[in-house]
């Protein structure tokens, strides 16, 4: 995942959101989306750590590094959900939860 190791971002254990942005037609689409993702992440108080693999228009926003109290974490969560839910460019978003997978 491009950028999950960004120095100012938390790893998969912290709060994170996958966000699908509406794509734009024309050249430079990727750059435009990237800039839009950066701006949106900043507005939410998160860090855009980059596109999710090969999925165009999908970005991962993570909570900035640092220890937060449970109340602060909840506030960040609510704020992020609220902003992402009402933003016009956001087609879909989902908080990333830990999955349980077993070797067989």
């Amino acid at each position: 995942l491009a950028g999950t190791g960004a120095p100012d971002a938390q790893g998969p254990g912290g709060l994170s959101w996958a966000v699908h942005l509406d794509s734009h037609k024309g050249s430079g689409e990727e750059e435009t989306l990237e800039q839009e993702a950066n701006a949106l992440a900043q507005a939410v108080g998160l860090v855009n750590v980059g596109r999710i693999g090969e999925l165009q228009g999908h970005y991962l926003f993570v909570q900035p590094a640092g220890h937060q109290l449970d109340q602060q974490v909840e506030a960040i969560r609510q704020q992020a959900e609220a902003v992402l839910a009402r933003h016009d460019a956001v087609r879909w978003h989902s908080e990333q939860k830990l999955l349980k997978r077993a070797k067989r």
Binding site: G5, G53, L55, S94, Q96, L99, R101
Partner: protein, 646 residues
Amino acid sequence: SVHFNDPKFPQQWHLNNRQSPGRDINVTGVWERNVTGRGVTVVVVDDGVEHTIQDIAPNYSPEGSYDLNSNDPDPMPHPDVENGNHHGTRCAGEIAAVPNNSFCAVGVAYGSRIAGIRLLDGPLTDSMEAVAFNKHYQINDIYSCSWGPDDDGKTVDGPHQLGKAALQHGVIAGRQGFGSIFVVASGNGGQHNDNCNYDGYANSIYTVTIGAVDEEGRMPFYAEECASMLAVTFSGGDKMLRSIVTTDWDLQKGTGCTEGHTGTSAAAPLAAGMIALMLQVRPCLTWRDVQHIIVFTATQYEDRHAEWVTNEAGFSHSHQHGFGLLNAWRLVNAAKIWTSVPYLASYVSPMLKENKAIPLSPHSLEVLWNVSRMDLEMSGLRTLEHVAVTVSITHPRRGNLELKLSCPSGMMSLIGPPRSMDSDPNGFDDWTFSTVRCWGERARGSYRLIVRDVGDETLPAGTLRQWQLTLYGSVWSAADIRERQRLLEGAMSGQYLHDGFTLPCPPGLKIPEEEGYTITPNTLKTLVLVGCFTIFWTVYYMLEVYLSQRNVASHSVCRSESCRWPQRSRKAREEGTELESVPLCNNKDPDGVETEREGPPPPSGLLCPDLLDQGDWSWSQHRSAPDCPLHHLSPDLLQGKEEQVC
């Protein structure tokens, strides 16, 4: 005629069963014809791959590999206290262990390249799965996944939004547009009456779902049944039966070799290896071609517990064994002459709102949807591949529900069997079940969903809120399918399995991948430290040069005292080994002879800063300065003690 010096090869019964002839994957004849997976890359998505071990190293593909747990390109497993991260290495060995290196074992596709994606050794999210499924998807052809949601008989889970999108994207854009091949293990929840239709990876139309059978061809105690299973191959059984012998890691308690690899985890990589053999002989097989070839070539065999049913198109399927045992010889021969199936056609019914109560067994709720000729006209869909049903059901105890689906032919699939351990009170919320049992059958006609409650009267009745039918298939007619079956059977003699026979392949698409390696924080820190040190050293050196030159400028000549270099060794000069240096203070020449104060100027090697290009000071350090009069040297340097040169 196949002989290898690998010490455990004779025990690899799944490759060549001498004890019970025929109970193996039938691969040796394929190897004899130089079909070994050459040119194909298989990636094991798991807990890492010890790629330095002798059986893996020569076939290892660093280009296809990545570590998503540490976010770096090296998928080397990290030992843990439970000695548990050998899983990916074992799977990799089954696929591509190098033969004839006197080390452990041989892989099914020992000529293929093997990559690793480390994913299962840390916190895992939907986005990480999505990245894994498309990682290096123009390099990796086959993704082997021997893992999945918990097989505890009560979990209903599978790829989430991003994982689903990545699987779909992989089959569209992966492998130059021919589609990534995703092989998944069906699950080990047999003891808990689990079923692989509750596993969204196994249930997905984009994956090849592989189950296990033991050496005797029976379903092992751990194996799960499901209607979406495509085929089975060998693995370990109970204690009396042999497990899979394969390469292992040599970290911690590992010896580099194991005779105890088992579970559906051991079966899926064998299938991945066999698919690699298919792709060598026909690289342009699409993801759907691979599924079709498996359906057409898997072999039904005698097993009275399996409840084989033959469908309208002549394919036999069992919930235990899918379409049967994978056979490398049949797969490769079929692949060699296979021309691509028509485009994928699909049909989606409207969302069918029911809101009907689900009665207790032996009664059942039956809902029906008729797919007409008109409905299919737009897509051209005529014969079926996967049939999927998405349901929303409320029920106080999910595990009491039983769901069956009947295709127009009457072919019945148990898409959602009851599970005694599943007491989830939330029912199903848009869960998609699928079946492959109607493969090749006509798409037109009536589909029946039959739901019943096998619990008792103590709980309130559940409700089927809504359901939706999705059909996948192609424009192939029943006659087309029969013709292809006939064609394949004619190729099973091996007559086309030589280099002289090659069907043309369309060129693949050029699809760019995301940028490769991103710098990790540790690398970044190191680079910053090195950078800081370099800048500091540069500034210091420039300052030193500047100050010394300022002195030169203020004292334009060497005054009366001549400044002399120590005499250099004649031998060194002649041999050209003389080092250039700017002596600051020296009272002896290199030979230890005291330097005379009076004497001839040195022939060369004298740094003359004020005569050199000021802007090229670094250049001046590495080249002999032109001869220059000594009076150009700083008087500071000329001053000194009696015996000092400068």
